[in-house]
Structures are given as structure tokens and as C-alpha cells.
Symmetry: D2
Subunit: 345 residues, 4 copies
């Protein structure tokens, strides 16, 4: 199989670096272009020391991320690992040059301009592309991804919340009302940003809720639930920052619509995800360390018969299934190759 | 002021060590007796290296914890930092010898034998003492503690959950129904136990729910809410283990009974706890690192106007306000000295 | 290429689990047998949750590690991930049945019985095999490994110390006298052992030297330097335990024999290791996080012109290049396949 | 005893915050003035959440650090917790107004202008004060501190290295030649600086040497050894950054001048430091976690009879005995109060 040439815009942040790592081991992909404003002119293997020594990457040099210049790059598919607001500009240019785009930012996750503005406080830079973009959660919309020119890869929190919820909501086994998502995230989720609150001495031995009650990721979670159920059901979502480099835990509090317990949830998930390479269903409660560096999303459930609530648990790595890994999974779908390619470690 | 002589039974576990640390700096207390089955015969300053060099502790040697022998010890007040089931046996002996007892275990927290058996799976070793024991949450029952012979110090989770809940429930501002407590705990909460799941390499880069849906601490939380409201309202409680040595975060999802938001909650707490030395109310979300090693319980709140839920947040140190510090606070109440004595760091 | 069938004795410890992880992604290997005394009868994917969902491992069930029974296993090559003393017994049985053995323990690293007894305090269980065993540091003795029936994979500290030292000693650029190795190790190096000192709450926020001055790994380091130089030069070696799950840093203080500085060291290493897939030489000081989960050993150097000392730095992952990864590298050499197979992540 | 009024210039960095914490519990001190360029106008208890709720601090508001304005402050003694280069300017102004100054920066640690310029790359801002400044290591020069107007508090690494070395060098039991110091430091030592390399995700699971071979702290270590021995002996010093918030470990490799082993070293230290409240000598190797948050420096030793080297070990908390705690110890000496005041936790 001839290797697919791929570009990565914003390759020196945490998600960008993870993309480089995964694609470097991908049997069917060749990274042909990497950008980094900060490191333009330097060799990738000098900037990302974990990848030093990879012969196949030795020739890669960071270039400045110029939308126009990127149009003439050889790569036919581009990952965008940029902040929201910026991604849209690059997507627009690249699509106009016939490239396909896998965007890890939030720019194309929302279909509604008003919701985008409400949650991101800016006017959308490329509203005309919103209808075309596919919200790329492979386990839910694999077929649409296959043909998409523009895939908006879901956020880490939304992935950890939607994967357990959707199968149960679809079968109307749980109520879309009064759902609560209490989540824990590692610090890399905030990006390689020089912010005092992200310093080691601020995050170590620390645990804290943040972004309450209206974290930006809520917008895409509620959108997807609305698409599924046909009505708007607001969610209570409380993210917490804990001392992990990578990893995410979601604990969901939901109400069954009828006689439905944890085993039933496991059963529906097991059926729904039977052929999914990256969803693992288990009776054991998930642990972040079991998915670190992998593209898995682990699921489990418990029924609280004292309150009648169903408790759903998921774990994933925010940089893999929550970002770069899911992006590569989408790439594999588009490229028609083994969906696990590059993603088994 | 003549120093109060105090004994510590089980002084070499994490809570016991924390008791030694606090009492070593306590201006009005002298530790006169420390027990440790494992370290009997060794000097305290040799077993607990953090306390090496403390001249006032230099003469203390661990003795074997024999209930009968302890009766003739000079100390008039004893802390019990033992596993449940064992504590009761020591309490019984010590009380019969006219000593007062501050128990950090669960043995005297529940008033109902059936509830004890349901949650702890053993018959209570000293049922006759249950009616007498005071559930020692100073902010709630200070006056009863003052005269108590036997104080059952609350668990760490219950403290972090009851302190924010009680003032709001008492004023009927929130419903006792459908309360959810999603909590995070550091690893010292599990004690100095040689269990594979508590190894560094198992807890680092790990985050996991456990003890769902019926963690033992639920029993005392529900009991206290029942005492307060006059009816039984089961709670959904999900504890998570995260990579902290010390620290605990509680995020509570509750429903206001009427027009009541976060500012109102802050207001009620501020009034209720106006004279409390160890409860801090703030608009800022609490962070475990701000209470590590202190006896504070930090509180904050947010109103989620999208779902009508009120979110309550607390943070404390599981070994201090969640165990030894609260024990010493109770001691200070009993001794009639400044409640902050030994507890300001 | 037909897949090579491989057995892993002691597959549920940290090194054993890492072997499973690496071999599960190895293109030319099939794990056909895994043992675990503790987990006999359970499926591997149930015991090692990181590997759950791997279809190719789904049929593997842990068996009891019985030396005689293992002789009739189909696998032609066995990894031993056992404590020293036990490994030798299995090696003896397996070799007698015509199997080849890659031992991760210390049992066959030393050629001298007296040295073994001095450092390990037991009589060697299979002295007749010592002469045959190859000390499997691929970068040094690749050709001998190729034909070996019994490979003793070096310890983690020795690998991190010998790789930088040997090329410089071989060319007599540094003196074998007065060498000091100051090393840092993550906690997984101590194994999945229920020891109080390895608990999370004991290792977090902790850093401590241990095993001074005669850590067991010193024996093999000195042996290899003796083989190289023809004389015995004792080394000062101080290992420290620091709060990492995985990772190892060696800082070596050596004395050049003549006019020889850091650039010269980098030059010799670059030449010596030019074709080595797993040694990376850089002007930048190595960092444990850049090698975590990889089979790389990173090297750098600084000349301290104020004291005339040369400072050598290395980093590796104690479970990969320091144990399981090096074992698989040796397997690849024996199997004649790409030495990087299974080892690029 | 009337409370001593003290000012803290630079009170919102890690050392400044630690000063606030210690002085807040100090029985004989009142913080009367705190500066912070960034937080001027805000209340201290709002900026430093660990100190929220301290009634005695409730009235403190950060002011802008203006040297002239500070001259008219009521406080008679000032701590400077500022970067080098800046401290000298404040010291000059404050001394001219008759205040006494305890400087935590490097500005007054070196007596020689050329050495200052060599290591700090700037011309000294107040050279006329150098002769007057006392290098404030209480265990070595207590009497000079008592009368000093300007105390230069030693750096964290120098404290951890000089305390074990000086008694042995003074008695000529070890050679001042060929000393090696291999040190480990927690991340708070780098200050509350927004530097990518200090982010949680960069420091967690990381360990790395840095600042080799000429870390700035080398200058004061060598100066002090020169003062002691009368000759210049360069030292090899390799600091490493490890994933601790607080804590420092020094491992020193030295050569005895004669028949002198670890017990002899312990004996000399025990004698030298017999009356020192903050030096603890033990047969057990020190551990960072035993000194976290304390002002102790723990010492131990091992003799490596195989190489004839003596290994010295020390541990301290870089923010306490390595900075703020030592500063307060110096304050206590100057104030003539109990040297442990405020420093026992």
C-alpha cells in the first residue's frame, strides 16, 4: 500500500506531538509536512525529543503555518491541532485547495452559529463550512466520516460522556433529563500553555473543579444529545483537574426509564460496541492508568438500587481517544485502512 | 495551664502519626502514651522520622496496645486510631477506667446496630456504648462534645459532605432528595496498608471510582441527614481515588427547594460558620492543595441555572479535618482550651 | 514470516506485563504460554486490564509455573520474569528440553559463583549454566546473543551505566578508576511487591538514596568493566528512589585519561552506536520522560573544566530498555528479525 | 513580648508565601507590610488561599514594592524574596532608612564582585554592601548573624551541601579536593515562573539534570569552602529536577584524609550540631518527605569501603530550610527569641 501523505498544522503542542507519535508508527501514513510557528526552521526530531532517532522523521522540518502556502503542500489530508478560532481559517484554505481536513479544535463541532458564539465568544470564522463538517465520533457516525471532507474531532470530555450515553439513550433505557457528568482530567488537557495555574507546583497535590457550570465542551455534548433525542436537555457538567499528565475519568449519574440495571447497560454496550476496536466494556470500574497512551475508551456501570440511579463510568486518554488518537482513527476510516492501524500499543 | 496528658492507641498508622504531629506542637497537651503492636519497644522518634529531633517526644516509647494495661496509664484522654471492630474493645476498657475516648474509627459513629452490621459486616463489639457516643462534628454538635465521655470522630468523606449540606438542609433551602456526592480522595485515606492496589506504581497516573454504590461512609452520612430531616433519604455517593498523598474534594449536586442560588448558599454558610475557626467560605472553587496539612474545610458553590441544580464544593485534608485534626479539635472542646490550639500551621 | 511461539514465565509482575504488552504488538511473535502462580486459571486479558480487548491475546490463560510441565509447551523460547534464585530452576528445566531462555533476573548475569553468593546471599541453583550464559547487552555483544541458548538480560541500572561507559573505556579515553554512578529510579523498578515502603503515600513527595554502598547491581557492572579492562575497579554506586512510575537516570562522574571533553564523548558514542536503533546521542541532557515506554537509552555529556571531570548522563525506562524491552531486543536478534520489531512506539 | 513588626518584599512567590505562612504562626512577629507588584491592592488572604481565614492577616493588603516608599514603613526588619539583581536595590534603600534586611536572593551571598559577575552576568547593584553582609547559615556563623544589619540567606543547594561538609572539613577529616555533589530538587525551587519547562505535564514523570557544570549556587558553595580552607577547591555539582513540589536531596562523594568512616562522620556531626534545633543526624538515609514543610536538615553517611569514599547524605525542604525557614531562623537569632519560634510544625 502506497503511504498516504499527511500534514500536521500545529505539531508541537501536546495533541500535535501525539499525532506525530502515532503517525510515526502508522504503517500506511507518511508525515510530509509539520508546522509550528514557534519552532519553524527546526527539525522535528530536535524539537520533540521523544521522537529523536526515528529515521523516517529525520527529514521533517517545522514550517510556518501559512494557510496559503499549505495549499500547495503535497499532503492530501491535514490534521489541525490549533486553538479554536484559528483552525477554521486553515480549514477553509485547505478545503479550497482540495485537501481533506481532520480538525482537533472546536471550530467545526457545533452546527449552530449562535451556540458557537455563546460558548466561544467569537463570531465563527467560516460559518459556510458548518453544515458540511462531520462530528467525528467513529462509534456513532462511522459512515459519514468515510466520505467527509471536513471532520470535527470531538473533545475529550464529550467523547468520554457521549460514548456511554448514546447507546442507552438511543434505546430509551435512560432518561435524557437530569443527567450529571462529573469528570476528572489530567493536566495535558489544558495544552502546553504557560499559565501559572498549570505549573507543576500548582497542580501537584492539587485537585479542583473548574469551568463550572458552563464549560465549553458542554455545547457539543448537548448538541449531540439534542440530535439524538430531538429535544434540548441541559446537562450538569463538572470537570475537575487532577494530578495526572494524561487521562480522563467520567462518572455519569443517570436515571433509568424503567427496569434497567448495570448488567443491562453492559449488555447494550457490549452489543452496540461488539465490533468496535476501541471501546472496552467491563464489569470492573475503569482506571485512567489502564488507558494511558492507548486509544481505548473503557466503560463500566453500577446500579445504585438505594436511589434508583444508574452510574456510568468511562476512562480514556485525553490526548489519544480524546484528541489525536481519535483523529487518526478517523483518518483510518477515511483512508479505508485497518481502523487500528498505528493505534495499538 | 498544666498540660493535659493524652494517650494514642494505634500511633503508627497515618492518622496516628498525624495525631502525634499535631499534639507535639499543641501548647496544652502532653502525649504520655503511644501504642503500636508492630513497633512496641521502639522509640517514637525512631519510628516516625518526621518527628525525630522533637525533644519533648524523645522519651516516648511505643507500648503494646493491651486494653487492660492501658487502664492504668496516667493519661485521662485517649485517641483511638485503630481499625473498626478493634476500637470498640479499647473504648470499652478505657471508659470503664474513667478515661475519656476520642475514637477515629467507625465503631461509634452509628447509632443503629443493624446499620452497623449492614455496612461493616460484623456484630458490634460494644453495643451498650452506642447511645452514649457523640458524633463529633464540632460545627454541628459542639455543646454535646464538651461533656462527652466518648466521641466518635466523623469519617473524612462524611465531614466533607455534611458540612456543606447541613446548614442548607436545616433551613430547608435544598431538598434532601436526590442528593449526589461525587468525591475524590488521596491515597493516605486507605491507611498504611500493604495492598497491591495502594502501591505507588498502581496509584500514580491513575484515577478510579471505587466502593460504589455502598461505601461504608454512606451509613453515617445518611444517619446524620436522617437525624436532621427526620426521614431517610438515600444518597448517591461515588468516591474516587486520585494521585494525592493527602486531600479530599467533594462535589455535591443538590436541588434548591425554591429561589436559591450560589450566593444564597455562601450567605447561609457565612452566617452559620461565622465563628467557626476551621470552615472557610469563598467564591473561589476549593483546591485540595490549599488545605493540605491544615484543619480547614473550604466551601464554595455555583448555581447551574441551565438545570436548576445547585453545586456545592468542599475540600479538606483527609488526615487532618478528615481524621486527626478533627479529633484534636474535639479534644480542645473537651479540654476547654482554644479550639485552634495545635491546629494552626 | 511464520510467527515465533514464545512463553513468558512470571507474566503478571511489572516486567512480565511489559513483556506481554510489547509482544502483543510484535509482528513476528505469538505469545503461546503465560504463567502466574497468583493468577493461574484466569485469562490474561482479565488480569492485565491494559491488554483487555486485544483479540490475539483473548485465548491466553495463566498457568501455574511448573518447570517440568513447561518443558512440553509448544513455545521454543521462554522469557523468565522471576525473582533471582527461582529463575535458574526454570532455565535449567527449559534448556534441558531444548528451549532457549531469555532471563530477566540476575541469576545468569554473573560468571563467578563467589560474586553471586556475595551479592545475592544464596548458593547458585544452576552453576553449570553460568559459563554458557551470555550477558545480553546487545550494543556490546550482539553476535554472541545471536547463537545463545541462555541470555541473561542486564539489570536496569547496569544498562544505564554500561552503555555510556564501555565505548569510552574501550578506547581508554576515561580512567576505570574512581568512577561514580549516581542514579535515580522510578518505583516500578522494585516490582509489584506489597512492601510498605513502596506505597503511594510513602513514595510520593519522597526522594531517598537506598542500597548504599553495595546494591546488587554493582556486581554485574563491575564484572563487565573487569571483562573489558582486565582488572577489577570498584565503582561507587548510589541509587535513589524518586516519584516516577517508570524511568531511570544515571549521572556518571569520570576522569578523562587525557585531553578529552564532552564533544569527544558524543563523537565516540555517535560512532560506536551509529547503527544502534536504541541508543540516542544528543547535546541535550536526557530526561526520563523522553524515554518512558520506549526502548531508547539517551546519552549526553558535559565537561566540567573547573575540576577536569567528565560528566556522563543517560536515561532509559527501567521496564523497557532496563528489562522487558531489552529482552525483546535480544529475542529479535536471536530470531533474526528486525531488531526494532515490536519496540517502536 | 511585644510583637516585632516585619515586612516582606515579594510576598506572593513561593518563598514569599512560605514566609507569610511561617510568620503567621510566629508567636513574636507581626507581618506589617507585604508587597507584590502583580497583586498590589489585593488582600493577602485573597491572593494566598492557604492563608485565608487567618484573622491576624485579614487586614494585610499587598502594596507596590517601591524602595523609597518602603523606607517609611513601620516594620524594622524586612525580608526580601525577590530575584537577584532586584534585591540589592531594595536592600540599599531599606538599610539607608535604618531597617535590617534578611535577603533570600543571591545578591549578598558573594563577597567578590568578579565572582558575582561571573555567575550572575550582571554588575552588582550595590557593591558597597558586600563586605557588610553576613552569609546567614546559622549553624556556622550564628554570632555574626546576631548583630548583622544585612543577612544573605544561603541558597537551598548550598545549605544542603555546606551543612554536612563544613564540620568534616573543619576537622580536616575529609579532603576539600575532588568533592562531588549530586543533588535532587523539587520544582518549587524554580519559583512561580511561567516557563514551559515547569509545567505539570513537563515535570511529572520527568527527571533530568540541568545547569551543569556551573549552576549559580556553585559560587557560594565554593566561596564558603574557600573561607573555611583558605584555598580554592572547585567542586563538581550536578543538580537534577525531579517530580516533587518541595524537597531537596544532596548526595556528596568525598574522600577521607585518613582512617575515617561513616560512624565517625555521624559522631562529628552529632557533636557539632548537638545544640542545633534544625539539624538531625541519623544512621538512616534521609528522605525528602520527612522534612517537607519543616526547617530540618537531615544528615546521614555511609562509608564505601570498596572505594574508600565517604558518602554524605542530606535532605531539606528547599522552601523552608532552603529559603524562608532559614530566613526566619535568622530573624529569630537577630530578635533574640527562641530559634524554633514559628518553625516547629
Amino acid at each position: 500500500m502506497k503511504k498516504l501523505k499527511v500534514g500536521i498544522v500545529g505539531a508541537s503542542g501536546y495533541s500535535g506531538e501525539e499525532l506525530c507519535t502515532i503517525l510515526a508508527r502508522h504503517p500506511f501514513v507518511e508525515i510530509s509536512c509539520v508546522t509550528s510557528r514557534q519552532h519553524a526552521g527546526k527539525r522535528l526530531v530536535d524539537v520533540l525529543p521523544r521522537l529523536a532517532g526515528r529515521k523516517d522523521l529525520a527529514s521533517l522540518t517545522f514550517i510556518n503555518p501559512d494557510p496559503e502556502a499549505l495549499k500547495s503542500e503535497e499532503a492530501g489530508i491535514f490534521f489541525l491541532a490549533l486553538p479554536h478560532g484559528q483552525s477554521a481559517i486553515y480549514a477553509k484554505a485547505l478545503l479550497s485547495a482540495g485537501k481533506r481536513v481532520l480538525d482537533l479544535s472546536a471550530d467545526f463541532r457545533l452546527r449552530d452559529l449562535a451556540r458557537y458564539k455563546e460558548f466561544y465568544q467569537i463570531d465563527h470564522p467560516a460559518p459556510e463550512l458548518l453544515t458540511e463538517a462531520v462530528y467525528g465520533l467513529p462509534e456513532i457516525v462511522r459512515e459519514q466520516i468515510r466520505e467527509a471532507r471536513l471532520v470535527a474531532c470531538p473533545g475529550c470530555y464529550p467523547t468520554s460522556i457521549l460514548l456511554p450515553l448514546i447507546p442507552l439513550l438511543r434505546q430509551k433505557k435512560i432518561s435524557p433529563e437530569r443527567i450529571i457528568a462529573s469528570c476528572l482530567s489530567g493536566v495535558s488537557g489544558a495544552g502546553r500553555k504557560t499559565d501559572v495555574s498549570l505549573l507543576y507546583a500548582e497542580c501537584n497535590e492539587s485537585a479542583r473543579a473548574y469551568g463550572v457550570p458552563k464549560h465549553r465542551h458542554l455545547s457539543e455534548i448537548e448538541q449531540e444529545l439534542e440530535i439524538l433525542t430531538g429535544a434540548f436537555y441541559p446537562l450538569t457538567f463538572v470537570p475537575h483537574l487532577i494530578p495526572l499528565t494524561r487521562g480522563m475519568i467520567a462518572t455519569l449519574y443517570v436515571e433509568p426509564t424503567g427496569d434497567f440495571d448495570a448488567d443491562d447497560a453492559l449488555h447494550i454496550w457490549s452489543e452496540t460496541f461488539a465490533d468496535e476496536p476501541f471501546v472496552r466494556v467491563s464489569k470492573n470500574l475503569p482506571d485512567a492508568k489502564h488507558v494511558t497512551g492507548t486509544n481505548y475508551c473503557d466503560l463500566s456501570a453500577r446500579f445504585d438500587d438505594r436511589t434508583g440511579r444508574l452510574l456510568l463510568f468511562s476512562a480514556l486518554d485525553n490526548l489519544t481517544k480524546g484528541a489525536a488518537g481519535q483523529g487518526v482513527q478517523n483518518l483510518n476510516i477515511i483512508a479505508g485502512c485497518d481502523e487500528e492501524a498505528g493505534l495499538l500499543v
